[in-house]
């Protein structure tokens, strides 16, 4: 069926709630659907006990989801913008991520934290960030970042079934893309990358919105005779490094592309991990595509200048090929 990323997420939530009464949705404005209509219709089917609007208290609602999960529920918490996660990080990082460990395996926190990031909607410096790399630095959390509707649904189902806390980072500019999605989406395995386009010359590992930019760049480069292999890791933690290094063994070139700022970004981790594991296969240093080290401006011209896109991926592919040892 043709549907949007947003509707695919909402449908996955409804299916999980129908299948398991322990699954509930909590967050700010969730009964009305939230700003992106993701949770629309759920309260009508499942009621206010399981679709619970919360006060604007990100720290408390993250702790509430944690405590409810420890008590046997499977809450899916929505933090409306990833920018607001700063308010919730103590609960997520110090309790949810560590409860199993600190209790020697006695406690379990099967919660999902859904949030969304990304620029491109002129929303400014506090509603547009890509902060996923912070989460990837916390043992105990799993982090998924779907780029396609089918994965947004499948990875969410996988996250809800997972016994550990999983953060799902969606992207606001992808919500209203229309894509072909199977009528029944199977839960996607957490920790497995997808090769979205095969190619022999350069491997591009892209996250979230940049997957689509990388695919666009690959189309253009193919017309010039350069075949790019596009990999979507889908899961950042745990990272499927094998799929990346298998690809690099064939292409001998690696570009990593994401929308977050480059410094300390997840691309640095991929570059280091792949650079170490596949050093002998690489003909050139890993190229990174990322945003500049600055906050996100709001004025359209400024934001467009700030945002990395297909042209940056293309330039990086050409750069990595140009730096190849003869």
């Amino acid at each position: 069926m043709r549907t949007t990323y947003a509707k695919a997420v909402g449908r996955a939530l409804a299916e999980a709630m129908r299948a398991d009464e322990r699954v509930l949705v909590i967050g700010e404005d969730v009964s009305a659907g939230g700003p992106f209509t993701i949770t629309s219709g759920l309260v009508e089917e499942f009621g206010v006990d399981r679709v619970r609007d919360t006060p604007i208290s990100e720290a408390a609602i993250t702790g509430i989801a944690t405590g409810a999960a420890q008590s046997g529920l499977r809450p899916v918490l929505e933090i409306m913008y990833i920018d607001f996660l700063t308010l919730a990080l103590d609960q997520l990082v110090n309790t949810a991520a560590k409860a199993r460990f600190m209790s020697g395996g006695q406690l379990s926190v099967p919660m999902v934290l859904r949030t969304q990031g990304g620029a491109g909607q002129r929303a400014g410096a506090q509603h547009s960030q890509s902060l996923e790399s912070w989460l990837c630095h916390v043992p105990g959390l799993k982090v998924v970042m779907p780029s396609r509707a089918v994965d947004a649904a499948g990875l969410l189902a996988g996250a809800i079934a997972d016994p550990d806390p999983v953060v799902v980072v969606e992207n606001k500019t992808l919500y209203f893309r229309t894509e072909e999605v199977p009528d029944a989406v199977a839960p996607a395995p957490i920790g497995r990358a997808a090769v979205l386009r095969p190619g022999r010359d350069v491997t591009v590992v892209a996250l979230s919105r940049m997957v689509h930019e990388a695919l666009a760049a690959a189309d253009e480069l193919a017309r010039e005779g350069i075949e790019v292999e596009v990999i979507d890791p889908r899961t950042l933690v745990p990272l499927d490094l094998d799929t990346i290094t298998d690809s690099v063994a064939r292409t001998n070139h690696l570009v990593v592309a994401h929308e977050a700022v480059g410094a300390g970004g997840f691309g640095a981790e991929v570059a280091a991990a792949a650079g170490h594991a596949a050093f002998d296969d690489l003909d050139a240093p890993v190229e990174r595509v990322a945003a500049p080290f600055q906050p996100i401006p709001v004025s359209p011209g400024l934001e467009d200048a700030y945002l990395p896109g297909a042209a940056d991926v293309r330039a990086a592919v050409l750069a990595v090929l140009n730096r190849s040892a003869p």
């Binding site: 006990d49 919360t54 405590g67 409810a68 395996g105 406690l107």
Partner: protein, 334 residues
């Protein structure tokens, strides 16, 4: 719970904490890191925990040794945890600040001041949805009431009428600083339970040195919560008889328990001596013996049994192996 049984648990907690404290001198190096003792709060802990029935749960902050003792957790496993041994209740992964015994309803702690309060509120949300009348006790100190998590949680618990009792053990010191220097209510000479008014829920202050009074007060709040009438803030006035925590020093330098901040920071020896004179454990013993609820011999026997139990806990913990280093990488994920 009968008063004599309350006295027994109070005595056990006191003896346990004395043994933790003595470990620093009797067995230097066995405990590193941070410990925070509940001596002085025994009556408050036991009176509160005695209101719980199976299915109820509790969370606490890092000053957490007393609750599992009152809940019936194995004190040898608790001591072994504090000693970092493989036989510890959390396998040596948690330590003094992170005890947990979910089978008995103890859902764990937060080492970050006040950050367990949302967690307890969430457990209460789960209890509300289960619909069996279960209640969650959420313990924290006066310092925690300056955290946003406290205020956010009280607001949500009030709006959702969650079955949670917020038990604030007010020991008049927020870590090392007197609370009336840092708390607006205390500075104005009002009880900290005043904060409940901001959330339109009951706020009561109780003498945390009297286990029967605590039991009655927390019990009323628990019954209110069970009946679906929502949360209560109970301010339980206690006096911590030890310093905030043990000293902190580089590896190899022996740790110890400094004197209470009343003495070391404020030079107020009389405040501390008065607190010692009001020590809830001997106070309750005298009351029980005087009323005939307990004979002096029975009280001595209870104290002797607590000594034997905690000596056995120390012996067990000392004899227990440390975890295998390879086990350090376990329990991060299921």
């Amino acid at each position: 719970m009968k008063p004599a049984e309350m006295f027994r648990h109070m005595t056990r907690i006191r003896e346990f904490e004395e043994r933790v404290k003595r470990t620093f001198t009797d067995h230097p190096g066995v405990i590193r890191g941070h410990t925070h003792l509940a001596d002085g709060a025994e009556a408050s802990i036991v009176g509160s925990v005695a209101t719980m029935r199976p299915g109820d749960q509790l969370v606490s902050t890092y000053r957490c040794h007393g609750y599992p003792i009152a809940l019936g957790s194995d004190t040898s496993a608790l001591m072994a945890e504090i000693y970092g041994r493989a036989t510890g209740i959390c396998g040596g992964y948690g330590g003094s600040m992170h005890l947990a015994d979910p089978e008995r309803g103890f859902l764990g702690t937060s080492g970050i001041v006040g950050q367990n309060i949302p967690q307890g509120t969430g457990a209460a949300y789960a209890a509300q949805l289960r619909g069996r009348g279960d209640v969650v006790l959420t313990f924290f100190g006066d310092g925690a009431s300056k955290q946003g998590a406290f205020h956010e949680s009280l607001n949500i618990a009030a709006v959702w009428k969650l079955p949670v009792v917020f038990v604030m053990e007010n020991n008049s010191y927020s870590a090392g600083v007197r609370t009336d220097l840092e708390d607006a209510n205390a500075a104005a000479g009002e009880p900290l339970a005043t904060k409940a008014r901001a959330y339109s829920i009951p706020g009561v202050t109780v003498d945390g040195g009297d286990p029967l009074l605590v039991h009655e007060t927390v019990g009323a709040a628990v019954e209110r919560a069970r009946a679906g009438e929502g949360p209560t803030l109970v301010e339980s006035r206690v006096y911590r008889l030890s310093a905030h925590g043990n000293s902190i020093a580089p590896p190899g330098v022996p740790l110890h328990y400094p004197e209470h901040e009343a003495v070391t920071k404020y030079g107020d020896v009389e405040e501390y001596e008065a607190a010692k004179r009001g020590d809830p454990v001997p106070r309750f013993r005298a009351r029980l013996v005087e009323s005939g609820a307990l004979t002096a011999d029975e009280a001595d026997r209870i104290a002797g049994e607590a000594r034997t139990e905690m000596q056995a806990a120390v012996d067990f913990a000392l004899a227990s192996p440390h975890p295998e280093p390879a086990a350090a990488l376990s329990h991060v994920y299921a």
